[in-house]
Symmetry: C2
Subunit: 147 residues, 2 copies
DNA sequence: ACACGAAGCTTCGTATGCGAAGTATCGTAC
DNA sequence: GTACGATACTTCGCATACGAAGCTTCGTGT
């Protein structure tokens, strides 16, 4: 395989992998009429309690402006709401509405549980190999930035 | 690490990796005022000659509707153009404009060359480990679809 | 007190990205 | 030769996604 093909092959596979993970997540959350990112927000809030926008942004690896848009739609559908922090007027705390909490806590934790299972299918050794390979790839991409 | 953390860790890392690759590509192409996907289209056309929309779609792992939009913008900027196939009226052939070819062929092949180099930094053994890990992950995601 | 940079969000413009529905053309069965 | 399913694209509606610019609030220095 020449370098061109090899590079594209890896990029394609990484993309496909990310798509599969994303698609998997989306499919899980779809039962609750949530998209992947929306489900991730709600999952984080269920698990960690109220979060700042910046914390959500950091946890999800997305820019604040993107998170802001996702929250707009979640708020529109009455799933979460924004609340100004009392201690710092700049900060917005995102919380799950009581209504959604009441209606969806059970089914949602169920979804999350199934999501957790995804990697349970792997042996510890396989997990190690995966993380190692991700390390290598990350390093390569990092190094290549200086070419 | 509990299962939740482990799953999210892998997802985050895969996403970060895909972002790095994508960002790297975008940075390279930015010199020619092209976004990542746009650069990929032009790169494929330079390398393989005129292509059908469906072929581009398949090569890039994107839906036809997405490719169609990318082509709209490339056409707007006079970088590529659509041409109806003579043998099959349904088929559209995408070609690079002479203008862009003349102005950008050199710098573009330069970009592509640097892109090729990204994985040259890896040893063959590392490449093998990467592809193996990607295999494992793909298999896991595939299997977990039936949970 | 007040000026002023920094921090936290939102808004805006643009580019992806997808699936569903629509359009045009091709092949084929009849 | 014509009806009709299949194929190749486009269009539409929506949800991400980002960076740049704007707004408000906080801290700090004076």
């Amino acid at each position: 395989m020449d370098p061109f093909e090899r590079s594209y092959e890896v990029v394609r596979r990484v993309k496909k992998l990310k798509d599969s993970l994303h698609g998997n997540m989306s499919r899980l959350f779809k039962e609750g009429n949530l998209t992947g990112p929306q489900g991730m927000v709600v999952g984080l809030l269920f698990r960690m309690g109220p979060l700042k926008i910046s914390e959500l942004s950091q946890q999800m690896g997305l820019s604040m402006s993107t998170v802001s848009g996702i929250l707009d739609r979640l708020e529109r559908d009455n799933i979460v709401y924004r609340e100004k922090s009392e201690t710092d007027g700049r900060v917005i705390l995102v919380k799950i509405t009581e209504e959604f909490k009441k209606n969806s806590k059970h089914s949602f934790s169920n979804m999350n549980h199934r999501w957790d299972k995804i990697l349970d299918l792997a042996t510890d050794e396989e997990i190690d190999r995966i993380l190692e390979a991700l390390d290598i790839l990350e390093r390569l991409v990092e190094e290549s930035r200086n070419l």
